[in-house]
């Protein structure tokens, strides 16, 4: 953790309130996000108990599985979830704008620009915490290989239509969430912790209630006290006042409230099944409905506080202005969304269980590139982030004290002005180190020439740089392309933009060192088969 972040946490301790960890919002927030607050059954990560879902903070839809061990009830839950989520997702697939993309022409092998559709906006899923993201992935994995009755009339337990499709979308959201800086699927705790430093540890920041308590404590209460209450306070019945944000529930809730309610439900169902005539059945049906209603009420009582907390967190985040580059990254999310939409339309099979060698390497390369991009963009957008980079010697800010015109050697000399910057920062500059500043949103490069005077003097360092590009084609630099004496400037030692890496072979060309192409004896089998159903599946 950087010393600036450490100081922010300590200031939070001192003041009893979270301190800013960012001065702008570094993630795009949709006007209309879909919030999902799921619950699962303890000990069975794959058995959903229920969820609150929706885009309207005042009218969430409650889904409940009154007996999580019952396959039919789970299928009903998944089908209902698909009916809520897919129309939301699909709506964004229908509105497109024209965009350009570079593609390799299969005939000439040259890179050419082609016009393609780009979805004008994209869906955004918000879950309360990081474990919620894991759960989205788990749901995706469980659902995407399911066969519907239409696909496979022989399937022993056919999935309701649209369930496999939702599985593919949730898988896509879950994979996209691993890309640094992406916003298609976000965990609110991560989002809040990125923007505020609390007076507790990052482990404790995983508790949504405690995190919000530090950021926005009730009038007259310190964040510390409010957070402790959110974590630990229980009612007379031994139940937490602020239930965990899930998907796991509190054992006291399971043992005291949920287990007896499920037992009543099971009894009522058994009684109904054993009913001997219509009248008796009517009666017993009433009991079953009541038992079910009770479980629904229990699930709602544990999810609604989290639901409200998520929206409150979103309100707090919306008060921060969006960082300039967050929009640029959201455009990448739109490309990602559009790409998956196109794969589904093209009838491609669901994502495999595990990536092949080439896909894995491509994903890793993309994520490393996006991480570097995110680090650079956040620093450029936010002086507080840049302060951390300056402290680490990866950037420096100061004032221009002198500009001397100079030119490159050669037949057509180009401007190579020498700029001296006075800074109190201590950048890690070495011989000919490249540095960059933002000039009209584009990076301008310079080379470190040397120090004027001693390094680390009392009046700061005098850093001499040679500007090497973005000055136009003429002999004299274009207006405004060279900083002037007295200008405040900030140079970074890191690049502002990321070059694409080398293209990897196609999966069919996987070399012998990596097991050869898929389909070879040593490689991943294709296509993926559905999970064989067994007597006691959980999802």
């Amino acid at each position: 953790m950087s010393l600036i972040a450490t100081l922010s946490r300590l200031e939070a301790v001192r003041t009893g309130r979270a301190q800013p960890a960012a001065t702008v919002r570094h993630r795009h927030l949709s006007e209309r996000p879909l919030v999902l607050v799921p619950l699962i059954t303890a000990g069975e990560a794959g058995a959903p108990l229920g969820a609150l879902v929706g885009t309207d903070r005042d009218a969430p839809r409650l889904l409940v599985v009154p007996q999580p061990r019952d396959r039919d009830l789970r299928f009903t839950f998944l089908a209902e979830l698909a009916d809520l989520v897919l129309p939301y997702v699909d709506a964004y697939g229908d509105v497109v704008e024209a965009a350009e993309r570079s593609e390799t022409d299969p005939e000439t092998g040259k890179r050419v620009k082609v016009e393609v559709d780009l979805c004008a906006n994209a869906p955004q899923l918000i879950v309360p915490s990081r474990t919620g993201i894991d759960f989205v992935r788990l749901l995706g994995r469980a659902m995407r290989f399911r066969r519907t009755a239409e696909q496979d009339p022989e399937a022993p337990h056919p999935a309701p239509p649209r369930v496999p499709l939702l599985g593919r979308w949730l898988t896509h959201f879950g994979e996209r969430a691993r890309v640094p800086g992406s916003s298609l699927l976000l965990a609110l705790t991560d989002l809040l912790a990125r923007h505020w430093a609390t007076g507790q540890s990052s482990v404790e920041d995983q508790h949504l209630g405690a995190l919000l308590a530090w950021i926005d404590p009730p009038e007259g209460e310190s964040g510390d006290a409010a957070a402790r209450r959110a974590e630990l306070a229980r009612d007379g019945d031994g139940q937490l006042l602020c239930p965990p944000a899930g998907p796991a529930t509190d054992p006291a809730f399971d043992n005291k409230l949920l287990a007896p309610a499920i037992e009543r439900y099971d009894r009522a169902r058994a009684a109904l099944a054993a009913a001997e005539d219509g009248l008796e059945a009517d009666d017993r049906f009433g009991d079953l409905t009541a038992a079910e209603r009770e479980i629904r009420a229990l699930v709602e009582s544990r999810t609604r506080p989290t639901w409200d907390a998520v929206w409150r967190g979103l309100d707090l985040l919306r008060e921060l202005p969006e960082g300039a580059h967050a929009t640029d990254r959201w455009t990448r999310d739109r490309w990602s969304f559009t790409g998956h939409r196109d794969r589904i339309i093209a009838g491609e099979p669901p994502q495999p269980r595990r990536d092949d060698a080439v896909t894995a390497a491509n994903k890793l390369a993309t994520r490393e590139r996006e991480q570097a991009r995110l680090d650079a963009q956040e620093a450029l957008d936010d002086p507080l982030v840049m302060a951390g980079r300056r402290l680490a010697g990866e950037a420096f800010a100061g004032e221009v004290t002198e500009v001397v015109m100079a030119y490159s050697e050669g037949k057509r000399p180009s401007p190579r002005p020498l700029v001296t910057v006075r800074t109190d920062d201590r950048p890690h500059l070495g011989e000919r180190t490249k540095v960059y500043r933002s000039l009209g949103g584009k990076p301008q490069a310079a080379e470190f020439v040397g120090y004027d005077g001693p390094e680390g003097g009392d009046h700061g360092n005098l850093v001499v740089l040679r500007i090497v590009d973005k000055m136009g084609r003429g002999k004299e630099p274009e207006e405004g392309s060279v900083p002037q004496k007295g200008d405040p400037v900030c140079f970074t030692l890191f690049e502002h933009d990321q070059r694409g890496g080398a293209k990897l072979p196609d999966p069919e060309e996987t070399p012998w060192t990596h097991g050869g192409p898929p389909g070879e004896p040593d490689a991943v089998p294709l296509p993926e088969q559905p999970d064989p159903p067994t007597e006691e599946d959980t999802l």
């Binding site: 991480q371 080398a502 293209k503 012998w512 060192t513 990596h514």
Partner: protein
């Protein structure tokens, strides 16, 4: 190189046998790959150069893949040293200063940013990153992959289509490659892109012959058993020289100070620990940094001379034969300024990452855990300590605050475990304990104000 024989086991003969077997498999074997593990200073570069020359002279053009531009340039220079008429191509990037200017003086070396310009040359050398951009060429029949343990699996994936068969050479004990983002989702897969190239290669090709160079020509007899035992527990090696074959002597006698006493201990025993009083400090602990600088200053001032199998006469211990190793860049920067304040400007001071593959007579190391309140995975990484403890031909002096042993004992060990991932040995925690135990036998406790 003269290989002193002191016992029934002749290191020279053992090394020759190993090299012969490697070359036999490389030139005449039927397998697509040959893997060679090389402990520190075991003659890896010599092997690479020799294999390249033998392949070339057998009329088999080859490509060489190294990991950094410095490694590539070094290999080009070494090849030219052995055969200044061998046609060598240096494929390089289009950045500024893409290669060592010394290459411009070699008439046999052609340089280009395009592989096509270098077609037909006996040997073409570049970095893995540059090779990855080469497309649409006829594959080479042979390749040599240098520092293969420091190469990531995805980097090998990008270049493996360029050759039919390859010799993979590297040191499994040095720093592992890493990714700047999480890669847990591929843990346990044979082709995990963040794993080392050799791990993936062997997972898919278990039948490949694996060799190992059994003798370190760099490490002295005092260091080989510790480095071998602590960092290569299942692939032991020994030193090429015996106790007494190398000597380090100083013309100026000790002034009785801590630095002088630890210098004498290290000259005698090969190891020296200058232990400062226990204290929690920032990374750039001024006292420890000053102590490192003082040791270097005294090494230079006391007229050191190194006697070894390399020459008849003792060789003066000059600044270029000494290096300082640290864990972090800011520590290296602090040591540099402390040295400058003592008038020393030409001693190499660098982090473990940058010292990989380099060799000196004496090294002075700021212990990665010195003064820390706790250990971290970074500081416990076996490769880091291994690099720092295996750069020297004569002696290694470690500067450290007391209390590291307790620090290790108090280190929580609750590491997650990924199914299917081969456990890496040795464990950094155990290796650190082993190194500390040896250093403890050569300890000079010093309170700098004394």
């Amino acid at each position: 190189m003269t290989a002193p024989v002191s016992s029934a086991f002749s290191p020279g003969a053992a090394a020759t046998r190993a090299t012969d077997a490697i070359l036999r498999d490389t030139l005449h074997g039927t397998h697509r790959g040959v893997v060679v593990d090389s402990p520190p200073g075991a003659g890896k570069s010599t092997l690479v150069v020799r294999a390249a020359l033998e392949l070339a002279s057998a009329g088999r053009p080859l490509m060489i893949i190294a990991q950094t531009n410095a490694q590539v340039d070094d290999l080009v220079l070494r090849l030219a040293e052995k055969d200044d008429e061998l046609p060598v191509g240096r494929l390089h990037s289009s950045d500024t200063d893409p290669y060592d200017k010394a290459l411009d003086d070699l008439p046999n070396v052609r340089k280009s940013t395009k592989a096509a310009d270098l077609a037909g040359l006996d040997v073409v050398i570049s970095t893995a990153a540059k090779w990855a951009h080469v497309k649409g060429v006829e594959p080479w029949r042979h390749a040599i992959v240098d520092e293969a343990y420091q190469m990531r699996s995805d980097a090998l994936l990008a270049v493996a289509g360029l050759f039919e068969r390859a010799l993979f050479v590297g040191d499994p004990g040095q720093l592992d490659p890493f990714a700047i983002v999480g890669s847990e989702q591929w843990a346990g897969l044979s082709y995990d892109p963040s794993a080392s190239a050799v791990t993936t290669l062997l997972a898919h090709n278990r039948e490949l012959p694996q060799h190992r160079l059994p003798v370190s020509w760099r490490l002295p007899a005092s260091a080989a058993p510790l480095v071998s035992g602590a960092f290569y527990p299942y692939t032991p090696f020994r030193s090429g020289t015996d106790h007494g074959d190398r000597q380090l002597a100083f013309a100026v006698p000790s002034d009785g100070s801590g630095p002088d006493r630890v210098i004498d201990e290290a000259a005698e025993a090969g190891w020296g620990l200058l232990e400062l009083p226990a204290r929690h400090t920032p990374r750039t602990d001024p006292e420890a940094v000053r102590a490192v600088a003082q040791v270097v200053r005294r090494l230079l001032d006391r007229g050191g001379a190194a006697t070894s199998e390399r020459s008849e006469e003792p060789v003066p211990l000059t600044a270029d034969r000494i290096a300082v190793g640290t864990a972090h860049r800011d520590q290296a920067a602090s040591v540099r300024s402390a040295l400058a304040a003592l008038g020393v400007t030409d001693v190499v001071v660098d982090t473990a990452n940058r010292l990989q593959g380099r060799e000196y007579d004496v090294t002075v190391v700021l212990h990665p855990l010195s003064g820390r309140p706790d250990a971290t995975a970074f500081h416990l990484e076996t490769g880091r300590l291994c690099v720092l403890a295996s750069r020297h031909r004569h002696a290694c002096i470690v500067v450290c605050r007391a209390g590291v042993s307790e620090l290790l004992d108090d280190h929580p060990s609750t590491e997650p475990v990924q199914l299917g991932v081969t456990v890496k040995f040795p464990d950094g925690w155990e290796a650190n304990h082993a190194v500390l135990a040896t250093l403890g036998e050569h300890r000079v406790a010093w309170r700098p104000s004394d």
